[in-house]
Symmetry: C2
Subunit: 458 residues, 2 copies
């Protein structure tokens, strides 16, 4: 974990922002896989990690602003626990490491919460805790999140959206693990293998160098399916792979990288044509990032670059300014350019995406494609975000648009039909907004056609 002073400062800042009340952070429990005692890898709640740093289950943290007390609730091990799970420092010893001097048994939490007037808590996603919180707060699980504290959400987002130097160092570590995952995949993929033979090993690298992947690995020859978690296809000569995967750093900061590469190591001319458009758009997007710029503006600029490339290639036509305004590019690029990233890969998505990526100056569009943009607000130094344009040929979407003759002034449906099986292509890096520009995090994973082909040939 970070030095105790980091957590003390974070809690202090939160207290100053909120001014009064009692703030309750529930730490996660183990999450059962197929019966209670067989859990998935333990993952602590990110906001609990941010303010209290302790990375083990069955804790709660209280910030009692009015009495300026920080308290950790948790239980020490019994001798039976020690036989099965080994000796551990006490809750008091571990709490001291994050600058908390007051600890109480978990069973004391209920009285503490019930005796408080104004309890701030964040929206919950962990259902075992929702059931527990019902007895603490008297609110049914189904009603819990609508009573979460908007004031607390906004204060937490404001703090977590700006990454400190020590956080950026962790995110560089996470990106470096992703470098290993992506370059391994390029080298190891061969025609005739099943996707899972590579995707499983890619996840193994994340587990061998840190806590594991930061999100379910997307590794597929069918990249036109945006969130494809099926890994059972045989990879054939002429196919290309979208590998969208990232790792957690030791302190659970995320990376999220995507590369697209040919299974046999050589792009076909058609693959190369699309790849070069995506690459140009991604490089221009990164180039455009700077403090004070709206990310929505960067997104729309990227959409324009993609539309230009697709016009040159014959898939789009007409006035591209109008095409992008009306969302015609979204047939090919139906998602947003990127999202904040930090302790969560979609940072703080569980607190409400619009609190994180939008603010009073910019509201979410309801246009298809733009509506999926997770981050639109003005960029500030310390923001870390993904830049991940892509071009996809999604047969079901093509059929739907074509049947409506949708935006036909801008789309050459005959040309699109010829390539309906082209699949998908996406390139993604993680970028820090600095005081005067930007920095791509981690060791650079091969990205030009030449560099990708060279890595595949190794």
């Amino acid at each position: 974990m970070f030095d105790a002073s980091v957590y003390v400062q974070r809690r202090k800042k939160l207290k100053e922002k909120l001014g009064s009340g009692l703030v309750l952070f529930m730490g996660n429990e183990e999450s059962p896989m197929n019966y209670p005692a067989n859990p998935f890898h333990f993952r602590q709640d990110s906001s609990f990690l941010y303010f209290f740093g302790l990375d083990f289950p069955n804790l709660a943290g209280i910030i009692d602003i009015d009495n300026d007390r920080d308290i950790i609730f948790g239980d020490d091990l019994t001798i039976d626990d020690i036989v099965w799970t080994g000796p551990q420092p006490t809750i008091a010893e571990r709490s001291a490491e994050v600058g908390v001097s007051e600890t109480q048994p978990f069973s004391d939490l209920e009285e503490k919460v019930k005796s408080a007037g104004n309890v701030h808590y964040l929206p919950q996603y962990f259902h075992a805790l929702m059931i527990k919180m019902e007895s603490l707060l008297g609110i049914h699980p189904n009603k819990l999140n609508e009573n979460a504290s908007v004031e607390l959400i906004k204060a937490v987002v404001e703090q977590r959206n700006i990454k400190s130097e020590e956080e950026v160092r962790e995110m560089e570590l996470a990106a470096d693990i992703a470098y290993e995952m992506h370059t391994y995949a390029m080298r190891a993929t061969k025609p005739g293998m099943v996707e899972s033979e590579i995707s499983g090993k890619v996840e193994g690298i994340a587990l061998s160098k840190g806590p594991g992947v930061s999100f379910p690995v997307i590794f597929t020859i069918n990249g036109q399916t945006l969130h494809n978690h099926y890994h059972g296809n045989i990879m054939k000569d002429g196919d290309k792979i979208i590998n969208d995967s990232g790792a957690e750093s030791p302190l659970h900061y995320a990376s999220d990288l995507t590369r697209t590469y040919p299974v046999n190591g050589k792009f076909t001319p058609e693959q190369k044509e699309i790849y070069e458009i995506v690459l140009r758009s991604q490089l221009e997007a990164i180039e455009a990032i700077e403090p004070g710029k709206m990310y929505k503006e960067v997104h729309l600029h990227t959409a324009k670059v993609i539309a230009e490339g697709l016009k040159e290639a014959g898939f789009m036509k007409g006035n591209l300014e109008d095409a992008v305004n009306q969302g015609a590019h979204a047939l090919f690029f139906p998602h947003g350019l990127g999202h904040m990233i930090g302790l969560d890969v979609h940072d703080m998505e569980g607190l409400g995406e619009d609190y994180v990526g939008y603010d009073d100056t910019v509201r979410r569009s309801d246009q298809f494609g733009l509506a999926y943009l997770r981050l639109a607000r003005k960029l500030e130094p310390g923001n870390v975000l993904t830049v991940e344009p892509g071009i996809y040929f999604i047969p079901e979407l093509i059929d739907m648009w074509k049947s409506e003759n949708k935006l036909a002034d801008f789309i050459d449906y005959d040309k699109v039909e010829q390539c309906r099986d082209h699949g998908g292509c996406r390139i993604e890096d993680d970028v820090l907004v600095t005081d005067n520009g930007k920095k791509v995090l981690g060791m650079p994973v091969p990205k030009t056609v030449a560099d990708v082909e060279a890595e595949c040939a190794k």
Copy 2:
């Protein structure tokens, strides 16, 4: 999945056993890691898999015994879903593959359940479902499991405890993946590496050859801690590793193997002395397995073999019959010899361990050590179980027993003190009870000292 007739037969058998009522099987949902849309690997509920076979989230299965109807409740994809997750067969098409011709939207489940008189359901561990079941059944999540149907539990256990030929084939596949995991670890481990460098790759092998590990990997130089999930130690010359890990087969049947091996590839004389005792006890335990034998008897026989070895080595003394009766061996061998294994690694533990491993003829002991025996009942052909004796030097337990001078007629505490840092040693295989004996599942992982050292040297 298996052929549709397998699932039809399983449901038919259950109907005949229960005779009347409505049986509700909830399929699992995605399990969130750190926010709702970032899930762990999806794992279907094992009993749902057993009776309905479908391996994707957000389903429920009903067996309406009185009207002889099997129904699957679930929702087809929208076009938005298809863009993000790809086209999929309909619920009706997928249900047909498991022999269910009747499907309904998920929202119809509530009416179906509410209109039924006698609803049988199994104990739940998935909290999101517990909250949903509150609205179906009107039972608070905290009260849900005490109202689960004991009749249903017993019927399900009776069926799942006997593995059919096609199930055994899957379990062989799971054991073969574990073979890869264990032999890789022996070959790749070198002094100076961190445990996670190997344990992460071991998990990667499970993910590359199937759905993943069947339980959290235990891979540690501190094998005296029985369920040690910390993988951050540097492995040093002279250390030994306990690797307790297993995989799921494509259809989610589990394997669970343990090997103990020296980090530098050569056992020390002290390590070898203990290892040979554990090996002898494990081979004798396997030898003793046959239909009609109580597994408790096999456990006690194994404890006796361990006690004999420890007496020869000077750690135990006195009359060994009495020593085992009084549980003196449990200072070194504090856990049970094994457990049922199938779709769950501790098969059906979530339904109640005593329903699975005990019956009217044998009750769980409360003696330290023996109390942890998960399987005691009479063995039947088709049972698959683990055989996993071990010897551990647990400093906290030694200190406690010694301070009480506990069972001092049988234990030489001075000798034990000399070896208090010896660590742990365990050897485990998965064994099928056959009509006239037993069969160890999967390719044989090196087990003799010579074979283990030879694998480490590869």
